[in-house]
Structures are given as C-alpha cells and as structure tokens.
C-alpha cells in the first residue's frame, strides 16, 4: 500500500459549477468531486431545480467549471420533472452551443434518469452504476450522481423502535459507503437531497441536538431539522441547507412574484459557514 501524493493532485478537488456565480462564490467553485454533498430543504425550496441544473452543468468543459461528463439522476420522488429538464436544457443549449456537435446532440441525452423505489432497489442498481461508469466510453463519461431524495426511501418502511432504527442506521452507512466508494473510484461528484422534519422540543432534548450550525435552520418561519437524524448526518461530507423566505423581492421582468431562497452551509470540511441568496427563474437558478 502506498500513500497518495497530495502535491501531485491539483491543489483543490475538482468542483462542479452550479451555473450561478453567487452560489459558486459561496461554495468556492461549486460541488466538490470525490465527496458526498447533501442538500437539505423543505419541499418547494428548489432542491430539485438545483439538481437538474447541476446535471446539465456537468456537461460543461472543465475550463468553464464543468466536469466534461454526464449525470446519473436517481429519483425516488415521483414524478420526474421531465418537462422542466427539457425547458432548462433548451436554454442551456442556447447559452452553450459550442459543446455540442450538432443540433441533434441534445443536453438531455447526457442526463440518465433512473427511478428508485426502495432501499433494496438502490442496492440492486449500485453494481450496475459501477459497470456503467466504467463502460461509459462516449464523449461524456459519468461524472455526477444525484440521489433525489434519500429521505423518501426511508420515510415509510421503518418503525420508530430501537431495533428498526439500528437497522435503518446501518443502511445509511451502507448507502453512504457505496456512494463514497464510487465517488472515489471514478472521481464523481455525488449530490444527495434530503427533506426536513419539524423541530420538536422534547423532554430528552435530543431532537434539538445541534448538528453543525443549526442557527439558520428555519424555513417558511418554522424551525426545522434535516430528516433521518444524527446517524445520517455522520454519512455526508458536506451539508447545505436551502430555505425560502416568504417576503418576495423581485418583480422585474415578469409580473409574478418570486420567493427569495437562501443557501446556508451547515457544515463542510473545506468551507466556512456562510450563506448566499438566489432565486429561481425560467432559465434556472441565478443569484440575487
């Protein structure tokens, strides 16, 4: 066994741009490769929007902050927003015409979508992902895996008994271990979304357990905590939180009011706690 040289590697992990300068600045270039990044938010905050945009941005050349690769989108929340992906891909194609050979080459062709019904199903397709990543010899090798969302896989199947919780926790570690293995082997960026649960002040004080910087975990005026608890929090490398505030700020360009969203870094090994604000437009995510 030989140690890896830290100097020969590029000075930073490769990063995948989000296509939004404000968020990229906050994340120092975007989502890191060879790392598991979790996006926590309640529904309607833009988790899926951000993921769709990432899966397109992965196709950008490395010089533009992309990974020159394709994306695999595992979705456990139905239905998959094909229409929205198509909409985004059109504007993506228009703004980046150079990277596609001709008009028939569509950005959507390089986003692979797979549904996942259950935890077992996820484990079934893991070896296939490995084979897929190894054999993808086309112009865009697999560089990004998105799992949207991990919470949906666990929400129904398990009871709240100690033995079930233990079983559940060991599955968390197994999923995370497998994904990290893939991320390391193929230098992939892995992005996982997670839901939130309401914060309940309880007598044993555990649900109020502070994981990372909880100060910001407030969405739509409620206090929330990421779903799946402490065990899952141990499984990810970085955790970002998206919240939306109901006061609307932006009325330019269209009459529709847009809610402002805010991305907070809860914890991350390479980033200081900070935040940035963005909104979602027809063309995708853009900073405020």
């Amino acid at each position: 066994m030989k140690p890896q040289s830290l100097v020969q590697q590029s000075p930073t992990n490769r990063k995948l741009t989000t296509g939004c300068e404000t968020i990229d600045g906050c994340l120092r270039g975007g989502f890191p490769c060879d790392s598991l990044t979790e996006i926590v938010a309640e529904s309607g905050c833009g988790k899926t929007q951000l993921c769709l945009q990432l899966s397109l941005c992965a196709q950008l050349p490395i010089s533009n902050g992309g990974l020159d690769g394709s994306a695999l989108y595992l979705h456990s929340e139905f239905p998959f927003p094909f229409r929205r992906l198509h909409q985004l891909s059109r504007s993506f194609h228009l703004s980046n015409p150079g990277i596609y050979a001709d008009h028939n080459d569509n950005p959507c062709d390089h986003v692979f979508v797979q549904n996942v019904h259950s935890v077992d199903h996820l484990f079934d397709i893991m070896p296939k992902i490995d084979a897929f990543a190894r054999n993808s010899k086309n112009r865009f090798p697999l560089k990004l895996i998105i799992l949207d969302s991990v919470a949906a896989l666990f929400r129904s199947e398990f009871d709240n008994t100690p033995s079930d919780l233990r079983k559940r926790a060991s599955l968390f570690f197994k999923i995370s271990g497998k994904l990290k293995q893939l991320a390391n082997k193929f230098d992939l960026a892995v992005v996982i979304t997670n839901q939130v649960t309401d914060f309940v002040e309880s007598s044993d004080g555990l649900s109020g357990l502070r994981v990372g910087n909880l100060r910001y975990l407030c969405s739509s005026g409620r206090r929330v905590v990421p779903a799946l608890g402490l065990a899952w929090a141990n499984c990810v490398n970085s955790r970002f939180f998206i919240s939306r505030s109901d006061d609307t700020i932006c009325k330019e360009r269209s009459e529709k009011e847009r809610a402002q969203r805010r991305l907070d870094i809860v914890f991350s090994p390479h980033l200081p706690g900070s935040s940035c604000e963005f909104m979602i437009t027809r063309e995708g995510i853009c900073g405020v």
């Binding site: 555990l206 990372g212 929090a233 090994p269």
Partner: protein, 342 residues
Amino acid sequence: METSRLPLSSSIRGKLISAGYTSLSSISSLSSTDLARDVNISEAEAFDILKLANQMSGNGSTCLINGAKNAWEMLHEEESLPRITTSCSDLDNILGGGISCRDVTEIGGVPGIGKTQIGIQLSVNVQIPREFGGLGGKAIYIDTEGSFMVERALQIAEACVEDMEEYTGYMHKHFKASQVQMKPKDILENIFYFRVCSYTEQVALVNHLDKFISENNDVKVVIVDSITFHFRQDFDDLAQRTRVLSEMALKFMKLAKKFSLAVVLLNQVTTKYTQGSFQLALALGDSWSHSCTNRVILYWNGDERYAYIDKSPSLPSASASYTVTSRGLRNSSSSSKRVKMM
C-alpha cells in the same frame, strides 16, 4: 553479584561483609537507615552504598523481565516527550500541552463540530520544526470518510508557515534565529495520505502500518478520520465487530509505544438507548471505550465549540472552548475565563 565487587572503601566493604551482607540482593530491599544501623556507619554512607548497588543492578542483571522500567524512569521519559500542539492554547492547556505522543487519543463529536479540522491541523502542526518548539515529524492521515480536502490542508499549512515567519521576525530582534525553511508544499508532501474505502482495506492498512513507519522514519502522528465509518455499515455479528476493533486498537497502542508517536482516532457520536431514553454517546459501544488512553469529546455550548476531557489517566477533567477559523484551530476570542477546571 556480590557486595565485594562494589567500588567502596575497604573499611566499609569489610563492615558490610562482616555484617552478613554479601550479595547485592540482600541489601537492595533495605532502607538507608536500617543499613546504617546494622552495619554501624553513617546514614549518608549507607545511602551512597544503596545508590551504588542500585546503579549496578540497573545494568539489567537483576531486572526480572528484560525491558521492565520503574515508574520513576517512566515519569522522566514522559515529561521529556514532546507534545503536538493543536494551535489552540486553551485546548493545549487542558491536554497538558498538546496531544501526547505514545498515547492513543480518541476525539469524538457531532458532525460539523470540527473533528476533521483538528485532524488536518495536527497533521500540519506535527511538522513544525524543533527550533520552533515542534516535533519536526511527519504525519499519516487515514481517511475513511473522504472528508480530507487538500485545499483546506493547504490553507492551514500556509497559515502555519506564516505564523512561524512572524515568530522568526520577532525573534530576529532579540536573537539570531534560523529562517523558516518550510514551504506549504513541503508540508503537504510530508502528510502520507491513505484513502480507505472499506473495512477490510482499513484492517489491512493498519496491519501494514508497522512496516510503513519503519521504512519512513519521523512519522510522529497517525490520524484516522474516522475509525468508525466502515464499522457502522453492515456488521450483523456485533461480537465479530468488537473483536476486529479491539485487535485494531491493540495494534495502534503497539505502534504508539514502539515508535513513540501519537495516534489520534476520530470517532462519531450516536444515540444510545438506555433505560427508556436516548442519550448521546461516542460510537462503537462500551467495549471500545477501553481501547483508547485519552478520550476527548467535542460539543456545542451555545454558539461556541467546546472540548471536554472525558477520560485520561493523567489529566484532570476539564473543558475549553475553541474556534475553527480560516487559518485553522484557534482560541475562542469571546471570554477570558475560557478554561474551566472541574
């Protein structure tokens, strides 16, 4: 060995032998007062005899087991051992000057509290040259979670070099001090980084470490971030897990003693179900808690991060606050009474 061979004046030697003390073992258990009375010499003389006898037997001739040491020698050795600073003086204070070599130290806490930051900080700080009060050693970083970020390590290394340069600048006014030779790049070069993707790899690597460290001198710290991750995946047989873990702990203990290096194991926290309620505890169970010499728990108190010494044979329980800055671990600036002894 016989008393006649001790380098003593002939009169005292004669007195000793005539009093019946012919072998060294016969006087070794006596106090100087007893010996003075029995042989009829002054107490100072008796003390000298005992000291001589002790020195002679110190050559190993009367040691029961080869390599056995007495507590006095161990204390002396321990005091002379260097410690690895954490760059946070409050934390150093409660740790007795830093992370101690020859020990296995376990550090645990919730995600985002700064375990990895401490790991990276230590792997940089162990390289501070001796002129600056460091160890001038190298580091092994075993990454099981993929949280080690080169860009962060570089950032901390740069801050460390800057601090040393500032220190030399200050020293130049008073003494002639050596220039800082280290570059941030050299610091990265001296961190041996292993990425481990399964528990079998982890076990294999730990078995290999002995050989690796013998080939690469100057390794002064081994950091495992985290010891836990692969052991929480699917171990249906918990007894087997305990065996594998305690074997690994023994190996670390051996490495720490053999090469006189510090082993730092980072651990996660979990909820423990006792008497109908959930409580926070370090992961891997009760039997694991015996595996480490020192245990430090990191926790949030309000908006501040705190470290608490949970278990240590030589340090009092105490807690201290720290912060994680862009330059690495530092003292928390807010209050003056940061260290709280309990």
